[in-house]
Symmetry: C2
Subunit: 457 residues, 2 copies
């Protein structure tokens, strides 16, 4: 039988950091691994060149009377730094207890392998099973999928013929409760660079004369939230999608324990948009975060310099009806208006992604014309999860972003069924990332049932 744990180990060994050109070989290896694996399962594999990292498109025709499912995943991972904080080497998969450690174990190599394993097992059991599946595995998710829009336009006609997208690149709140993600936050990212004097200055010879760019940067950053925790940028919340009562009720079933969450994070106070619990804020509210800051001397000891420049990396998570370019414009306008005299500011644009929402069948706000196949896919998912996990999934919007889901919807009209498989303790984007192998086993079972359970009848 298809040994998905061994395959996952192989997959993790490729250091496929898409944002860093130093990992070019790891990216190429990771892509070849996926292509060869899907080829070995009988899929027709195309490696679609892009400007950065290619997209793997692997299809199986199956029975035209069956729904055609696109299974999405990504073969790239986040940078592993800070390396010093890893307890095992990030690209040497290590099993400890029921967990496999390694960069990408949970985001997204483990969950993608889960879905590949489901298909592999179904094909092993019945090589003639009429599954109609297209794997779509990209290599630029962690850089914001810059090549995806171009790919989508070029392949729109083909992709549009599918019925829906299935993926596991979202979260499971705990080992007991599966969540089907019905919304994703978008992204708007850019760097702010503040320049004071034209060169670094000696703080004795020139200190007390000019505004230090670190101070100017701090002054700007300190204005971007209210003391209560909302984003303090005019227009930022305009048109933000309301939260439906059923959404709040569904989330309430998770029975989040604030104290336990605080302990998990290691903090002693929450700081959220007023009117939202921390659990609600993550899923239903937008954010403005600082992902990195730098400037001047950062080494050991001291250097009494007034730096010429300081920068901060800003990312906004967006919710439906927040258009990324509009939000970037609003934040930049606020920064320009608040920048103190005596410094220059510049913006370095980074990537962006639209937010996304899909409403499952049978809800008060389900769109009238929802595709019957999509509705069937949701129902197959519901019964598979109930059978394997012992309770039905919750239907929730999530705080994370998979920007291409909104792009796919925009270009092809296809919605996505997102079954979450990574846990909060999996340390995504952080040191000591891991994936729970019990979750993986149940995930394989669940995906098998879903894929074999959506018939066209």
């Amino acid at each position: 039988m298809f040994n998905y744990v061994e395959k996952l180990k192989e997959f993790i060994r490729f250091p496929s950091v898409s944002t860093d050109p130093a990992f070019k070989e790891g990216m190429a290896g990771s892509q070849r691994f996926v292509s060869e694996l899907l080829g070995s399962l009988g899929f027709k594999v195309e490696v679609v060149k892009t400007d950065v990292h290619p997209i793997v498109l692997a299809s199986r025709d199956g029975d035209p009377s069956w729904p055609h499912v696109i299974i999405y995943g990504h073969y790239d991972v986040q940078p592993a730094d800070p390396l010093a904080l890893w307890k095992t080497p990030p690209f040497e998969p290590t099993i400890i207890g029921n967990r496999i450690y390694g960069r990408g174990a949970a985001d997204n190599k483990g969950p993608l392998m889960t879905n590949i394993a489901a298909v592999a097992q179904l094909l092993e059991e019945n090589p003639k099973i009429p599954l109609r599946i297209t794997f779509l595995v990209e290599g630029e998710e962690e850089m914001g999928s810059p090549s995806f829009p171009k790919f989508l336009s070029a392949y729109a006609d083909r992709l549009r013929k599918a019925d829906f997208v299935y993926l596991s690149d979202t979260a499971l709140p705990n080992e007991q409760q599966v969540v089907v993600t019905c919304g994703l936050r978008g992204l708007a990212l850019f760097d702010l660079v503040v320049t004071g004097a034209k060169g670094d200055l000696h703080s004795g010879l020139h200190g007390g004369v000019l505004r230090n760019p670190i101070q100017a940067l701090a002054e700007i950053c300190s204005t971007l939230h209210t003391p209560e925790g909302a984003v303090n940028v005019p227009g930022f919340y305009d048109g933000v999608l309301d939260v439906e009562p059923w959404e709040r009720a569904e989330l309430a079933k998770l029975a989040g324990d604030g104290k336990a969450y605080m302990d998990f994070l290691g903090i002693d106070a929450f700081y959220t948009t007023p009117g939202f619990s921390p659990f609600e804020a993550i899923r239903f509210q937008p954010t403005l975060e600082f992902n990195g800051i730098g400037g001047g001397y950062q080494g050991e000891g001291t250097k009494t310099v007034i730096p010429s420049k300081a920068f901060v990396k800003i990312s906004c998570r967006l919710v439906p009806n927040q258009e990324p370019d509009r939000i970037k414009g609003l934040v930049r306008d606020a920064i320009r208006a608040r920048a103190p005299k005596g410094v220059k500011i510049e913006f370095v644009d980074q990537h962006k992604g639209d937010p996304y929402v899909v409403v499952p069948p049978g809800r008060p706000n389900t769109p009238k014309g929802q595709s019957p196949v999509l509705a069937r896919a949701f129902r197959a998912t519901d019964s598979a999860v109930t059978a394997i996990w012992g309770r039905p999934p919750l239907y929730l919007r999530e705080g994370g972003s998979v920007p291409i889901i909104a792009d796919i919807k925009k270009v092809t009209g296809l919605d996505s069924v997102m079954l979450g498989l990574f846990l909060p303790e999996d340390n995504l984007h952080a040191p000591n990332e891991s994936f729970n192998l019990d979750v993986m086993r149940k995930g394989v079972e669940t995906a098998r049932r879903i894929l074999s359970g959506i018939t066209a009848s």
Copy 2:
């Protein structure tokens, strides 16, 4: 004749970065170079071990009826980073026009070599000249001279027998006007570290729940100055030494051009303590500066992380009557009081130094019991500068810090005569540091006249 330019080149070639253990060999080489050079001039050289970098003490007995001068200098330099901004290699001295480029060229290798050259030439001309000189050359100035207090206590009885200290580790405002520095700012340095969650977090999974430590750090830093430019810490200005009318008048002779200074810095607005021109603020007012800031992802592209920690390196320049430990306490108290909820703050102590002031003879505030030898030294300096540079020096307090000058005064009672030799365009503590060789030539002439001109009669 003593070829001081060649000797200075040799001196600069030693990469003597005292704060970075990676430069241990460069430090040892730099120290040996100074010891051997002074030994070759007939000085009795002692290399005094300290906990970090040794102090070179080189003495010549001379005629007991002559004043005994301690000539101070330091053989260590600032770190050279950011290396990418250097146009020539920092430790490969390069002469372009009338300037010699290299880390330490102006701070302090060039000025120290100027004074060594003066002594060498006097001895060449008259080997029996009755000069009584002790060279005191340390290797920890750029780290805040941590070993100096211990050395001072141990050698206090010996040093106390000298009459005054002579040094060139201060600034010349322009090539025409020499300044004798009558005050130095002190230093109080520490790092502030802000911790939010116990580990780095995914900004999608957890964004919108907690106060980002970069934000908290920005909030704290943004409170430490008033909008007008004063340090906003209660008690910070308590007891700050008043500025005498003659000090303002003396400074006014420099006729600083605000527009030209702005252009030099590359800024379009000053930001100073209210009530002080930028030129006055540097010399007479204390500061609080941010020398470096860091936290989260600083590489290319993006990483959507909420960092666990962020830090800032803070330095205060102090003026007379500001005690460094008291100031550190006040700033830390203000930070503690202003730190927002939900984050932890820690301080990492760095070095400190007392401010210093000496009043030349014949001023309204000259101390009644000023040593006649010190008064003579000031007068010899005045006439030497007038002869060589064509106009008398100005007597001004300076913005920079040479913390050991205050320590020497405290422990031995000796005051210092500080003749500045580096120019604003020498880029101290910054990339492309250089030293003006015309200034060096005149500096050698001036020091020769001063040292041979202070007789005991």
